[in-house]
Amino acid sequence: MTSGPLNMVNPFAVLESPGTLAGDFYARSFEKKAGPNRVILNLGPQHPSTHGVLRVLVELDGEYVVRAEPVLGYLHRMHEKMGEVKTPWQYIPNMGRVDYLHPLAWNWAFVGAAEKLAGLTVPERAEYLRVIGCELNRIGSHLLWWGAFVMDLGGFTPILYAFEEREKINDILQIITGSRLTMANFRFGGVITDADDRFIGLIQEFIPYLRKRLVMYKGLVTDNVILRRRLEGIGPMDVDLCQRYGATGPILRAAGLPRDLRKDCPYGVYPKFNFPIPSGPVNDSFGRYLVRLKEIETSLDIVEQAVNSLPNGPIMMDKAPKVSFKLPAGETYFAVEGARGQIGVHLVSDGGKNPYRVKLRAPGFSNLSLFAEAAKGSLLADAIAILGSLDLVIPEIDR
């Protein structure tokens, strides 16, 4: 350290040697448990592969990861607290901020919880529009994950291809939601905007287009020998491990357990559609990769069926709640299947202006806990691959 004339000698420096002063509370307590001749590496919060501001402390033996510990809280925005100080109506836009990649599923989880508590029924056309929006959004989320994941592995090009398709989805969803990232068109008792011919036409163009592109991606990326060698057998997680940590979504399905809330406890009009639940044979990084790519196809099937059988009718229930909507006293839990797993909203109301408590159950939080287990003993490059294959969205984890 160079000390200029203005640098005073730190009077507290005598208490600890400079070596132990390095790092913050987490790093120092993590370092205490480290073995001899180990390197403590701090990945993040500003690291190219943590996709946002996740921080992971890693203990390295050479390039092998001995221990890994995620440190959270760099994107904590108090969404749950905001639920207690905002009216339910004001709180809807917050949902798009919790998970910016699958905002409509979060919309649905919160709106659905409120509807369940207040006993509101949603018109069928609105339910269909919710399904279409949610599934298109899921495709967008998986596409972006795909690009970012291959970028973690060092292939830069696919993310730009993924973004092109995602832009098309955003163009479509923009028609009914008015925004491209933090969408919020769900209201208590329906949706606010109706689908027009342009919306339907764009979807009908998009479905065959994406199916053709997915074939190309298989040849270009999935079948690439380097990619397979990087992913196959990396970060295995069995069903037991996944269930102990509460993992849901593609990760649990890749382990061979076809759990999907759209089938297991159906909400909305999902029972009307015929779609398979892809569940992979092996839950390694490549298995999770394949399950997500198959889910894009599944979602395309659902969107196709929904668009072809879209009923006419109102998009809002009669006497739909107004801005001054108050939740009746009570407690409820409503869960939907998000792109990353089970999204749950636990809503407690004492009948006042604002909900008494809003608990958000984010799938990313549980999925992240698997990382410390799966990364043990892997190479640093593999740890990055495992982290990418968990499909984390940081604001959802920190809430």
Binding site: L153, T157, A381
Partner: protein, 324 residues
């Protein structure tokens, strides 16, 4: 032996020209890399600055020159500043024995192969010093990877080149070139396809380019050994990376693709065309493939390239002995 004045002047002029070539090459390669990447990724690439974005690289280098050099507080000052310079200068010397044309060799030496291989080994020293000197764990990991990778891949590279040396019976780059004919089927690549293949893989690994860019693996080590370099320090690393690419492409062209010889008329243009086609190939695979893992990279070398290279050398030795 005293250096005569004429030779001394010749070397000075040659070095100055080579520095010009290196800078021009970096500017051209940045433009080419970004345009090719843009084409592969279905976007225009640079197009704002100058006609079709041609001045983008010039502006980038101006920016790098003007940027503040920010060094970590506990960096090793001498090593930290020495590393980029050390990265730049050995490459400069490596261009000296390359025969650019029938009468255009900066410094004719009769064992150019040895000179090139000896100085090429110095390049990795700068990576090591940079990684150690910046006192950053990412840099250190990157440096460790760089050393392991470069040292490992030098061996198959040497084996591939030695096969050609045995074939030509000379270590002089000019006579290796002269022994190959004007037409593609008279080049060494026809006689030594395996050696060319081994060289091609080692060439990507030696220059630390994707998919073998592990020393600077962006998604793992942020920027590897040059994480802590900004401004001119980074620019020198950048410059030497492109110069290294050009050099290994020149060597590949001389050894396997007939050097300056080519249809219609021999001349430096053929050497440049061949080298830039090889560089285009390197850019192409960089933007197409994901990165390999470190143990896979070394496995490829020790398990496949090294035995294949030895086998090839052995076969070449026997065949040349029998035929000559």
């Amino acid at each position: 032996m005293f250096l005569s004045l004429a030779v001394f002047v010749q070397i000075i002029v040659a070095v100055l020209l080579i520095i010009g070539l290196m800078v021009a090459n970096a500017v051209a390669m940045v433009y080419m890399e970004r345009k090719v990447a843009g084409f592969i990724q279905r976007r225009p690439g640079p197009y704002e600055v100058g006609p079709r974005g041609t001045l983008q690289a010039v502006c980038d280098s101006m920016k790098l020159l003007a940027k503040q050099i920010y060094r970590p507080g506990n960096a090793d000052l001498i090593l930290y500043y020495l590393a980029p310079i050390l990265a730049f200068f050995p490459v400069l010397l490596l261009f000296l024995p390359i025969p650019f044309g029938p009468y255009l060799t900066p410094l004719p030496v009769n064992d150019g192969v040895v000179l090139i291989l000896a100085f090429a080994g110095l390049g990795v020293l700068s990576n090591l010093l940079a990684g150690w000197g910046s006192s950053n764990k990412y840099s250190l990991l990157g440096a460790a990877r760089a050393v392991a990778q470069t040292v490992a891949y030098e061996i198959p590279m040497i084996l591939a080149l030695l096969a050609v040396v045995l074939l030509s019976g000379s270590m002089d780059l000019k006579s290796i070139t002269e022994q190959q004919g004007q037409w593609p089927w008279e080049w060494n690549v026809v006689l030594q396809p395996l050696a060319f293949f081994i060289y091609l893989i080692s060439l990507v690994a030696e220059t630390n380019r994707a998919p073998f860019d592990l020393p600077e693996a962006e998604s793992e080590l942020t920027a590897g050994f040059h994480t802590e370099y900004s401004g001119m320090g980074f620019a020198l690393f950048f410059l030497s990376e492109y110069a290294n690419m050009l050099l290994v492409s020149f060597v590949a062209a001389v050894f396997f693709l007939g050097g300056y010889r080519g249809p219609i008329a021999d001349g430096f243009w053929w050497l440049f065309i061949k080298a830039y086609l090889l560089m285009f190939f390197m850019v192409w695979i960089r933007w197409t493939f994901p990165r390999v893992r470190f143990d896979q990279l070394l496995n490829l070398n020790w398990r496949w390239l090294l035995p294949l290279g030895l086998l090839n050398l052995w076969l070449t030795a026997i065949v040349t002995k029998l035929l000559v």
